[in-house]
């Protein structure tokens, strides 16, 4: 579907009949389609919003007739319903431009997942045993409402991964009515450090937007913006333009990262910096530039800190040759449109300092490509140390977050008085719940979502009937004995609209969007950097361990999608299980080959997984994609592979208190077990011990 054709559809939906170019009459589609409005073989397209990550891409869903089997008692019969066949990007949305990432497209398999919860349930086994009995909504809601009365304030903890928008605001109002603290997220993949750095340096509320498409020379530091950082679809589109979209100018990308990410792989040059040396790299480059040019917008105190930095020590820490760094500093300093994009795809104890230092470096360069975000409404869930909050809590509400998986919080979950989950699946954390109150799936709900940093709002209204006995989240919360008003999409969106947009239009288009513009003005006056802190003694645990957000599963929530399980891993081509990535020198020393089973041990635990000898891994740095290793998450994910987050020691970012999940040291040992690693790529299969297909 391209922009013009989709626009043709959406701009004619409101009428009853329209005339096409050939002059014959075609029935038009009302916004809310009754099931019997589906004509076999005819397709309809409806706007939706992707919630597979927090980027907030507007999408369009292709709806056609489908058949499902329903069971009533002993009887089974087939029913024809409107079903979603495919999800594409919304061509009117400048974030996606009609394009969509693999995970966004696979959201379909979350909606039609065979392991979705069919209705409310109550625990009938011990905590964590995951035994539940189906109950009526009345009974389930009453049991929660009765218990909830006894708790208030800090005793209530609400974890959600809802992006900015109606769902987050509904939850906020519910919590305000309960006099409970604001909702929080688990802190992986929610970019709290990026927000904090933008707020500290520029006074912005939200994540900055980078104008990659118009830059000439870009230095990326720690931000896998083509993989899973912020909005991969937006940045991939920008990247295409940056590379080949402008006649005569081809953008040059230098990527500094402690692992060969998708972004590093696409870069013209990769700087394999040591984990936690990102601030050092940026300060070193700033120092080299300051030796040659005036300080520009840089505050005096910051310029002074940079000038007095020990350059030789900085260079030693990041492990890159001085000559190479000088070359990059020179190129950045002389480029017509330089830009530094720093992020914390893997969070270290000093990541905040790297992000702040990068903002200063952009100021020094006079980079014009750092754009202010659309200010976030105050309903943003805070992250920070969720484990601490969980210790104080007695009642836990789970909405899409999975602390048992992400934060190894199973023990804390066991100690709570009441756990209620609104998720569509029985996951690692919901297994500890007392009551499951499944809300409608995102593709069955109405919602407005504010794209991450980018201007505008994406809107969806229900267009397929909910498959199961689920309810809208606002309705569920409203029936827990707390008086509050759930947010209605129209009421949320209408006040945000400029004069030239009407609610009706926005509803049909799937949202409205506006360009980010404005200047980045440094308001802070301080630059600090520190040595990274790692858990575990180097003599005991000689290797660094970096779990990272995977392309397929993000923070683990995509693991129950069969398409994503079968999507070959971009690094190792692995399917149905992810390996530990080990550099060739370490592998040789430990006599490990690709496919061998290894035990990875930290001070906090151990895991077992197949090894992948990664030719581009940093010596002494072991990485592992996040996503597998769920105790509970349906047939496709349960009991498959290992969870790298399960052996991460709790280190918290010094400046912002965020979970530094890349700050653990480990040791690796080979296990005497039959090699096993399922790979797709023909060349890997030929090299592997399992022969050709």
């Amino acid at each position: 579907m391209d922009r013009r054709n989709f626009f043709k559809i959406v701009s004619t939906v409101s009428g009853a009949v329209a005339t096409n170019a050939c002059g014959d009459k075609k029935p038009l589609i009302p916004l809310l389609v009754p099931e019997n409005g589906i004509v076999l073989g005819e397709e309809q397209w409806h706007p939706a919003v992707c919630t597979e990550c927090g980027a907030g891409c507007s999408t369009i869903a292709r709806v056609m007739a489908g058949e499902r089997v329903i069971e009533r008692g002993e009887e089974k019969f087939r029913e024809r319903i409107a079903s979603i066949k495919k999800i594409e990007g919304n061509p009117l949305d400048p974030v996606s431009g009609g394009r969509l990432c693999a995970r966004g497209q696979a959201a379909l398999q979350s909606l039609y997942n065979p392991d979705r919860l069919r209705g409310p349930m109550r625990r009938n086994g011990t905590r964590g045993e995951a035994k539940f009995t189906a109950v009526s909504w009345d009974e389930a809601l009453k049991s929660v409402a009765d218990k909830l009365k006894a708790y208030s304030g800090d005793q209530i903890l609400f974890l959600t991964n809802a992006p900015q928008g109606t769902r987050a605001l509904t939850i906020q109002r519910f919590l305000e009515a309960l006099k409970a603290p604001p909702a929080r997220s688990c802190g992986i993949g929610d970019f709290a450090l990026e927000r904090k750095a933008a707020e500290t340096v520029f006074g912005w509320r939200g994540v900055p937007v980078y104008d990659l498409a118009n830059a000439h020379y870009v230095l990326g530091v720690g931000a896998d913006f083509l993989g899973g950082w912020l909005s991969p679809v937006y940045y991939s589109r920008q990247f295409g333009e940056f590379r080949q979209g402008r006649g005569g100018v081809r953008g040059h990308l230098v990527q500094a990262e402690s692992r060969m990410s998708l972004t590093a792989a696409s870069a013209d040059e990769w700087l394999p910096v040591r984990p936690g040396s990102e601030p050092h790299l940026i300060v070193a480059l700033s120092r080299m530039l300051l030796d040659e040019k005036p300080a520009g917008q840089l505050p005096d105190a910051v310029a002074q800190s940079i000038r007095t930095a020990d350059l030789a020590a900085l260079i030693r820490t990041c492990g890159i040759e001085e000559k190479r760094l000088r070359g990059i500093a020179h190129e950045l300093g002389t480029s017509e449109a330089p830009l530094v994009i720093a992020g914390a795809s893997v969070v270290q104890s000093n990541s905040f300092e790297a992000l702040a230092a990068a903002h200063y470096l952009n100021a020094l360069l006079g980079a014009r490509g750092v754009l202010p975000p659309q200010p976030e409404p105050p309903s943003a869930p805070a992250s920070g140390n969720v484990l601490e909050a969980m210790k104080r809590a007695k009642v836990l509400f789970l909405d899409g977050e999975n602390p048992a998986y992400v934060l190894r919080a199973a023990q804390s979950l066991g100690a709570l008085d009441l756990i209620v989950s609104f998720g569509s699946f029985l996951d690692d954390s919901a297994a500890y719940a007392d009551v499951l109150l499944p809300a409608h799936h995102a593709l069955e709900s109405e919602a407005a979502v504010v794209p991450l940093g980018l201007g505008g709002v994406a809107v969806t209204q229900p267009f397929v009937r909910p498959l199961y006995d689920t309810r809208p989240i606002g309705q569920i919360l409203g029936q827990l004995g707390v008086a509050f008003e759930a947010v209605n999409v129209k009421d949320y969106v209408a006040p945000m609209l400029p004069a030239d947009q009407t609610w009706e239009n926005v509803g049909r288009q799937g949202g409205y969007w506006k360009q980010n513009s404005g200047e980045a003005k440094v308001t802070a006056k301080e630059l600090k950097w520190s040595e990274p802190v790692f858990a575990g003694k180097p003599e005991e645990f000689p290797l660094h361990f970096q779990p990272y957000l995977s392309l397929q599963f993000h923070d683990g929530r995509g693991a129950n999608l069969p398409w994503m399980q079968e999507l070959p891993d971009p690094v190792s081509s692995a399917m149905w299980g992810l390996p530990v990535e080990i550099d060739p020198k370490t592998a040789e020393k430990l006599k490990i080959a690709t496919g061998d089973w290894v035990r990875v041990e930290s001070g906090s635990g151990h895991l077992e997984a197949p090894a992948y000898v990664h030719p581009a891994a940093l010596p002494g740095v072991v990485s592992m994609p996040i996503g597998e290793g769920h105790t509970h998450y349906g047939r496709y994910a349960s009991g498959r592979g290992a969870n790298p987050l399960a052996i991460v020691s709790p280190v918290w970012d010094g400046a912002a208190g965020e979970f530094a999940f890349g700050a653990t040291r480990v040791r690796v040992a080979k296990l005497e077990r039959k090699p096993a690693l399922i790979q797709f790529s023909p060349q890997d299969r030929e090299q592997g011990p399992w022969g050709e297909r």
């Binding site: 394009r99 693999a102 039609y112 991939s236 792989a265 398409w563 999507l567 550099d583």
Partner: protein, 225 residues
């Protein structure tokens, strides 16, 4: 058919300087073409099916190592090695230059897959499973293949047909449509004005394993060094 000269000759250009290796194309192909999903046991035997895959090559040694990505799909060869070896004419060249697979003619000799230098043909070793209600996602425009037949990329022939029937001018296979970096371009090689024809003439344009003489209709624009 019958020797009629078609007005179209479908081709594709993939700009490797734009491609990030994100595999959006792979997921799009699964959704559009009802590709079977395997399981760990079958996948371990090399029976997983991806009509399009992203090959990645590591060149050099750390720290001077580079990664190259290349989406590989059926190259729709003009001189297709898969065609002459099929004993039942299940694979042949259609009038628009597409190398097509007739599922109900295929008897499963697998000679074609054996002869394909690009490893883009897949045999159905098992009947695919779609646990209820996963079948609701099926695209009704594309048939579900059962065990015993070969399958491969069709350049989304159902989209080509729909576009021809409806007179639409926005024809794109699912992979091209989804590509966030807009690295893929599809079009008519017979139309010299089409973007794909122009890209095929680009100085960076190459064909994959062109030395084999397969004459692919997929053109790769090499990454700028």
């Amino acid at each position: 058919m019958g020797g009629k000269v078609s007005e179209h000759r479908w081709g594709m250009a993939i700009d490797l300087d734009r491609c990030t290796g994100c595999q959006a194309c792979v997921a799009a192909c699964h959704a559009e073409n009802n590709l079977p999903v395997s399981n760990p046991e079958q996948a371990a035997l090399g029976r997983a099916v991806h009509w399009i895959r992203v090959d990645r090559y590591y060149e050099g040694e750390f720290p001077n190592i580079r990664v190259k990505h290349r989406p590989v799909l059926c190259q729709q060869c003009d001189e297709a090695p898969c065609e002459p070896v099929c004993p039942v004419y299940a694979t042949y060249k259609n009038p628009e230059g597409l190398n097509v697979q007739v599922y109900n003619r295929c008897v499963g000799t697998r000679y074609c897959a054996n002869n394909c230098p690009y490893s883009v043909r897949f045999f159905n070793w098992f009947d695919p499973e779609w646990p209820e209600p996963l079948q609701l996602q099926h695209n009704p425009d594309v048939s579900i293949r059962e065990s015993g037949v070969m399958e491969k990329c069709t350049f989304c022939i159902q989209r080509i047909k729909r576009a021809e029937e409806e007179g639409a001018n926005n024809l794109q296979p699912a992979c091209v449509q989804s590509c966030p970096a807009e690295a893929m371009v599809f079009g008519d090689l017979n139309d010299p004005e089409s973007k794909v024809s122009q890209l095929a003439e680009n100085s960076r344009a190459t064909q994959f394993l062109e030395e084999l003489g397969t004459k692919p209709k997929v053109f790769y624009l090499e990454r700028v060094k």
